[in-house]
Subunit: 320 residues, 4 copies
């Protein structure tokens, strides 16, 4: 009796990252094959190259903003689609090898973003500490524990700012908790797959897009936004990204409320397709917060269906 | 061998009106039954009551503006549709019974609108002349010639401001030509029928509508207009009309460029149907001036079809 | 001791018109000189020519819409300004010479607009009656009573549709009351003067304008309306009027909520002046209905003053 | 005879960074005191704390987008203003200690952003090389040369991706040139000072702002953008940034064309101040590219002055 192999998930590794915490919400370790990758680009490319079925990557942090490597890799190259989103609260601990005393810490390793998010606590509590950058918080933890792939006997730092899970996983001692400047920080992760599958609408969905404007004056942006407004579609996120070769040329990464299976979203997409030189659909998928879409009067599917029937009747000469 | 009876056209009479001049452009007297009516409302009601197949009525004058009786009668009651428009230049002559001298004229009869349009010439040339109102210019001419239905031996006036055709028809003498203040004045007439027939698109069409706004603040009017702008549809006419029972409540009578069979117009109509509390379709029909519609990039039928195919493919998971 | 002569009011006569009823609300007969005029244009020209100090003319009827002669005469020629508005309910009676019986009435005289407004009652009660047009309802009444300037022994009709005041003034007998199809019809009149005087703001004002658009596509109208929307100014009336020489060219006659002394209105006017090829200010004056302007958050005078102070401070390098 | 001390410039150090290349365009080493800082936040805080007169920091990269540390530090805290912008082309070389052979390179240190920008070249030429993150490209170079503040005898890597200037400054050997994936990459730097000084308008200026929206639906963003559009002000950059504590709340970092001393910009700012809950002015300063602002008809200073005079005249009753 043959069994289906478990799905393969590429993700931003190494073991113990916040991304792994996100992945655990999606598929338990026993039900999936975890494929840690060196960076976000590698994780997404694994799916394109069919070395993985899915990727789990961070897309937006409530403090730092959009994760540009994710946004930019999704925006060009072979099409990928978002299938689900997952929210993970971002809390840090300062961890050391067992026996380390807080007062001895002078060199702290972590990812630069994590360093930025704990800066105020460091200034207040360890003002003389210097930052030793790492490729990820988990990499700093692994290196400190001596298990990193590039390990030395001497890691060159005394402590690491890591996720609680990392400290636990690598047997590190927590020297201080609640060291993040913003206790409510959260990162949004997405599950990414190859096209061919659109999750069914749930009534609480979002649709992600990349849109290029014909020009950069205020009028072009207004014209693009009116394609949403004319169909009563709200945006939950809009971010500009440089198109890449020149300053002053932007694309927009957009999350719109609703699902492409809903008429108001479909018609707004059609409008963008007609008006903008480039539109990439990145998927419709359930919102992690479960908030139902705000469907204004006149923008429900039934309203679109009624309007379409009315116009059909008019075209055929059937009276008002 | 039985013959189809000729179509019956109700029109604003009596014989000799500018409306009859418009009707002659539509159907020669030998090919149709001419049914002169006492006023615009009667002409339109004849079609509703099936006493006539079509009505020909004035809808807009380049000097006086919209013909409110026509606009308001079309806007409510049983649905009627516009099938064609006809332009007639409006030129007046001052006509009298044979033998009348211009210097003897002191009382001039005509319709109040005609009087308004010749006011400057009258002030300059016959400053002491007074106005004797008539129900139409042709009625004034008929009365003067003695052939009016309510004729007296003595019509109570010396001359009439009438169309050249009227003077000719009633055997009146032209006392002065080119008496209109504006030599380029033109009136637009429409051929009106019962629903069940939409003229085929020609590439140079207009679509007439009546639209009520949810409220009268600037935002509601903007929202309505954006339904056109978001689909690249130009307006060639927009007129407000009081809704009727209260000051400060308006409907809008609109001519949009294009035909309901065209996608951009159909989608704009769908948008209005969703957003506005009331929309009445008054027909899509060829423009009298033959000007091709200004179809902006991204708003041709092929663009809409391409956009719809794209969204369909996305919905089915076929990749961008 | 010399006395100031009473102000001279030109108005749409003759005695007994609805316009005179409006004038009586403005200045009692003993306090003013009443100068009845043959039509609206003559009344307004009297003020331009300084034969009168003020004119009282109808500007909008809740059933018929804008009074085009008034709108068009104000829109061009020497500047005039609106100083006040007055509302008069429009009710009609059918009046005859004493002794007339309703069943004997076959010919009814009145102004065409009045005829239109009583059409339903006539159809139901006197279906065979024909319309004999008159230059005003009061003129019809005067003629019937035998006191008209162009009187005959035999007026050529049996009854007249007139204001109750007209019947009373000319000693006519009321044959039927409540004959108007719409019992709530009201006409708005304006008091017009020469520039040099702007009534003080009251908190419940309107500002009247005539605006030409650079072009007639939907975009140009949107751009004009956004000048109001960007400053939170509502419109209480917008009417298109043909510019006059060609079909398809419109100006807009607009009533905006608020007074030119208020910042949001002043800035909107400045925006129109910059963007539109022609703007004519027709005055700021108290609203007859006393409704306070809807001043949205951020659009009160204090908000504009605060914003101006902030920008001034920024320009001078005074912080944030 | 006493001399004015040279101005103090804090900048993102250490010596040899791209930021130092930008600083050199602003003030030659002999005319200014160079104060290298550990990061962008420290550089900006030096100005706030008056330990430096100016800071030079990167604000936008044509490939990576906005520099979030700069944007976010400017957006909150004590007010700072931008005084000038400088463009620096971003080109990288792979540098090693003298004698290093390209084929021996397995570990490469650099800042993560630089790594991202050379990724394609690395994959193609040194596919087995791993990334050793550094706090800056110059820090990697310094460490490699043995002169870094945290120097070891053994830096733990073989080569560094650095600016050409860095290689030169630290006596490193260039192993490969033109290693950046995008040869036209450019970074925009700004000179930041304390409020109290607004550079004079030059006709080619930009104005930087941070704006919070009242809400995140499409309508609120449209309303904000219309404050620019209604005054004909183009935007050259718009970026959303999370407000910080919650997902789904954004502020917008905006560069508008023109100078606050120009009327159209000043009035747009006033509009934002009235409509948005928070607006921070970050300065008006010359554009590095010298492109003159696109001043549309009706939006020049003379147009605003003319409009203001017109409204003043109207308010005082002086005729149109």
């Amino acid at each position: 009796m043959s069994a289906t192999p478990p799905p393969r998930y590429a993700y931003l590794g190494p073991a113990g990252t916040f991304t792994e915490a996100a992945l655990r919400q999606v598929a338990a370790p026993g039900d999936a094959q975890y494929l840690p990758q060196i960076d976000v680009v590698s994780a997404l490319e694994s799916v394109r190259a069919e070395r993985a079925d899915f990727a789990v990557v961070p897309i937006e942090n409530s403090v730092e903003g959009g994760v540009t490597a994710t946004l930019d890799t999704l925006a060009t190259g072979l099409s990928l689609v978002l299938l689900r989103e997952v929210l993970v609260p971002i809390t840090f601990v300062l961890a050391g090898r067992p026996g380390t005393r807080l007062t001895d810490v002078t060199r702290i390793s972590t990812h630069p973003h994590a360093w930025a998010q704990c800066r105020r606590w460091i200034n207040a509590n360890l003002p003389r500490a210097v930052h030793v950058p790492a490729t990820s918080t988990a990499a700093a933890g692994a290196l400190l524990a001596g298990g990193g792939s590039g390990s030395h006997l001497e890691p060159g730092f005394d402590a690491a700012l890591v996720a609680p899970l990392t400290a636990e996983l690598y047997g590190l001692e927590v020297l201080a908790e609640h060291v993040a400047d913003n206790e409510r920080a959260v990162t949004r992760f997405v599950v990414v797959g190859r096209p061919g599958q659109v999750p069914a609408p749930t009534g609480s969905d979002k649709t992600s897009l990349v849109v290029h404007l014909p020009s950069n004056d205020a009028g072009a942006l207004l014209e693009m936004l009116e394609q949403f407004a004319a169909r009563g579609v709200n945006l939950s996120r809009i971010e500009s990204r440089p198109i890449g070769d020149l300053l002053g040329r932007y694309s927009f990464s957009i999350d719109a409320e609703g699902h492409i299976a809903e008429e108001r979203v479909a018609e707004a997409l059609m409008g963008l397709h007609r008006v903008c030189p480039h539109v990439r659909f990145l998927g419709s998928y359930p919102r992690a917060d479960g908030t139902a879409a705000d469907v204004r009067p006149g923008t429900a599917d039934a309203d679109f269906a009624g309007a379409r029937d009315w116009v059909s009747a008019l075209r055929e000469g059937r009276a008002h």
